[in-house]
Each structure stands twice: as C-alpha cells, then as structure tokens.
C-alpha cells in the first residue's frame, strides 16, 4: 500500500513538474486557446498509437506488450481533463454500471445467437484486452469526444469520434468488418452523448472484448 502511495506521489510530482515546464506550459496554453489544434493533436496521437499497436502486435512475441503499451498510451489522452468532462463522474453510478451491462448485452447479442462460431480469446490476451478496451474508451469517447465537443458541439463529437474510431481500426480489421466497427463506435458515442457517461461504455467494451 505504501509503495503504491509513493508511486502515485511520484507520478503526481512528475505531472506537476511537467506542467510547470515552460514548453509543456506553452503547449497546454495553445491547446486551451485553440480547440481545433487540441482536437487535431489528440486525434493524430490516437491514430498513431492505434496504428502502431496494430502493426507491432503482429510481430512474434510482441502481441502482449504492444497491446498493453498501446492501451496505456491511449490512457495518456485523459491528462489535463477533469473527470466530469471525460464522462467519469460518480453520480448515478448504479445506472452507469447497469448501462454498461446493457451495452455489453447489445454488443454480444449477435455473437451469442451464433455462439458455436464465436472466437475464443487466448488466456494470455485477457489483460491486454482489458487495458486496450479501457484505453480506447478513455481516448475516443473520453478525451477526443470532449475536445470535439468543445470544437463543434455534440454532433461533431459523435460523428468525429465514430469516424476516427473506424479509421483507427482499419489496420487491425479486414474491410468487411469496418461497418460493424463503425456501428459499435456510433452506439458507444451516442450513449456518451445521451447519458453524459463513459463508465457504461468502458464496462460494455471490456466485457465484449473479454467474451469475444
């Protein structure tokens, strides 16, 4: 517990030092003053992280490391955002959890009906699946959604996150899968907008990835 506390303290201290540095301060001030620059920077960073992960994870013995690091790289996009802006407030928490279970049921239903042909996730990919699912939700429906919402409101955020989500999966999915990927992204983005919530998409995404 003490080691965890000291580690967290070290991270907070590092974050403060980085925030105090003139270069980081300048970058953050540009981001604050120009929502378009901030949204574009987040979008490019997410795309690069996702595509790098997709390419590296195909290399022998690199899958697990690439997936975990790729997922963690996406979590970085949450830096600087208040939790409420990411949709991570704790009000109506019971509803958020239930919403996550409902989203998981929706995401898995088409596969459950054809359960005899469902792929089986190897045990060693369980941790990477969780990290990737959480990272993707925080990046797409969390930080990118908030940045695009600042730029052009909810319609831009919903359409923008869905488009980028689909593009980000272009290297890891064959083309015929991309319509289903886009539809899943749209559903999760609409939930984010309708319920102002990211907890449910995270829960639904994690369960869906673990089950498939």
């Amino acid at each position: 517990m003490d080691s965890a506390g000291s580690w967290l303290g070290w991270v907070c201290s590092l974050y403060r030092r980085l925030s105090d540095s003139p270069i980081i301060g300048f970058v953050l001030s540009v981001f604050a003053a120009r929502p378009a620059v901030r949204a574009a920077a987040i979008a490019i960073y997410i795309l690069l992280a996702e595509w790098s992960r997709a390419l590296i994870s195909t290399q022998p013995r690199a899958a697990m490391g690439a997936l975990v690091l790729g997922g963690l790289a996406l979590v970085v996009t949450a830096a600087g955002w208040p939790l409420e802006r990411l949709g991570l407030g704790n009000s109506r928490f019971g509803f958020r959890v239930l919403g996550g279970l409902a989203l998981a049921a929706v995401l898995l239903l088409p596969a459950a009906v054809r359960s005899s042909a469902v792929p089986i996730l190897p045990a060693f990919l369980v941790l990477p699946a969780v990290v990737v699912a959480v990272g993707e939700e925080i990046a797409f429906r969390g930080a990118l959604y908030a940045a695009l919402e600042d730029l052009g409101g909810a319609p831009v955020a919903i359409i923008g996150t869905t488009a980028l989500w689909t593009a980000a999966h272009a290297l890891s999915h064959p083309p015929q899968f991309l319509f289903a990927v886009a539809a899943a992204g749209l559903l999760l983005a609409l939930w984010r907008w309708a319920c102002k919530d990211l907890v449910a998409p995270i829960i639904g995404h994690v369960i869906a990835d673990l089950a498939l």
Binding site: R53, A54, S57, T58, Q59, R61, A63, L67, G71, E84, G89, S91, R92, G94, F95, L98, L101, A102, A105, V106, L107, L108, L109, P110, A111, A112, R114, S115, S116, A117, V118, P119, I120, L121, P122, L125, A129, V132, E136, H169, S172, H173, P174, F177, F179, A180, V181, A182, A183, A184, L186, L187, L190, W193, A194, I207, A208, D209, A211, L212
Partner: protein, 233 residues
C-alpha cells in the same frame, strides 16, 4: 425521448452490421483468416480445403541453404537453418507439406488443427522450427503431436513459448506427421465458451432488468429538483 430513440436506432444498426460479419470484434487483435479444414467442425460453413506446400532447397558446397517451406494458406510453416539437412550427394532437397485426409482420430487426443504430412528427400541434421496456425473458434491446442504413420501412435513433442496469437511453435528433428491438439481429458482454454456466452448474455439481460426496475422506481420517486441536478451532471 429523442436521445432514447437515437440510441434505439443505433442498437438496431449495430445488430444488423454485426450480423453481416463473423462474430468477434478482434479489438486490437489482428483477425484471423478463416482456418481451412480437412474435416471442419459441424458448425463451420463455407469451409475451403487446406493447401499443400512445396519447396526446393539449394545445396551449395554440400551445405543446404536456409529456407522455409509453407502451405499456400500459411497454416503450416517449417523453417530450416543453413546446413539443416544431411545433404550428402545432393544438389537440391525437396520438402513437401500435405494435409492428411482422412483426419486422424487418435484415442485420448483432440486434434485441434489439420494433421499434415511433412516429408523431404533428405533427413534433418539439425532441428527445424515448425509453426502451426490454429482456428480462433476452437480451443487452443496445448501440444504438438508427431506420428511416423498416419494411423499413429501420436506422441506429444511440446510447444515453444507463444509466438503469435493463434499459432503454436515447436522444434522438430525428423519428418513425419504433425498435428496440434490437447488431451481429451484436459480442460482446454475456453472450450466451453460457446455454451457459456448465451447464458452470460441472458444473465446480463436479467441483471439489467432486475436491478434497473427498482433503480428507475427510486429515481422517479426522488424530488424533481434532484433529478434535474443529476441530469446536468
């Protein structure tokens, strides 16, 4: 109300889109090409027959060259280092990989891939690396099995550490028949998932209904001001 309607439309669109492709999001994991089976599992539709492989390896100054033999569908790859063969008196060495038909059904073993006959016109002088891909809709094999005859007996030769998802690697020191599988009595990774998934979905739906109705009632009974505050959060 408009939000709920849009969400409902999104659910329908997703269901239709997901129905049009094979199950699985493969989120972050490169999707597999469908495995080509000699004897497909009963639930497989649209199966294609697996391919064979053929390789001619040059022998230079009495030493066989480095090369890899593989089936055209990439389901089996065997790699040879320089000098991997006893190439005495040869200028070339031919390697063939052929899927075994009919499928072997050894007692006590569940074969999770096709069985392949791997032959060459020279014996191995050092170990070769064998990679066998397996289908993502069957339990992962825990061992690679070797037999000198198509009728068996099949002997486990072990697997190397995991290389890529949905492949098993091993080292082989002779040619013969190879297949990946697991002992029938063992518990394989996620083998029962095809039965568990529909049950899990049913449990999720029941949980949402059973817990959601009381939550909705409590929410309706709360003062209007408090509810509005929640909605703004």
């Amino acid at each position: 109300m408009r939000r709920a309607a849009l969400l409902a439309v999104a659910v329908v669109v997703y269901a239709v889109a997901a129905w049009m492709v094979a199950p699985g999001f493969y989120d972050g994991f490169t999707p597999q090409q469908p495995y080509n089976w000699v004897c497909p599992p009963v639930h497989i539709t649209g199966n294609q027959q697996p391919s064979s492989g053929h390789l001619v390896i040059q022998v230079i100054n009495g030493v066989s060259d480095a090369n890899s033999a593989f089936t055209d569908d990439g389901q089996v790859v065997i790699g040879f280092l320089p000098g991997a063969f006893n190439a005495t008196g040869k200028t070339t060495i031919t390697v063939d990989i052929k899927p075994l038909n009919p499928c072997p059904k050894p007692p006590g073993l569940t074969i999770a891939t096709n069985a392949y006959a791997i032959t060459a016109d020279a014996p191995l002088a050092m170990k070769a690396g064998l990679v066998m891909r397996y289908s993502d809709i069957v339990p992962a094999p825990s061992n690679v099995y070797y037999a000198t005859s198509a009728d068996g007996p099949w002997t486990g030769i072990g697997v190397s550490s995991e290389a890529q998802p949905f492949t098993v690697n091993t080292q082989v020191d002779k040619f013969g028949y190879y297949a990946a599988g697991y002992p029938t009595s063992s518990v394989s990774h996620g083998g029962a998932s095809s039965q568990i998934l529909p049950i899990a979905i049913a449990v999720l739906i029941v949980a949402v209904l059973v817990a959601g109705i009381p939550l909705a009632i409590i929410r309706r009974r709360r003062p209007a001001g408090e509810a509005e505050e929640d909605d703004d959060s």
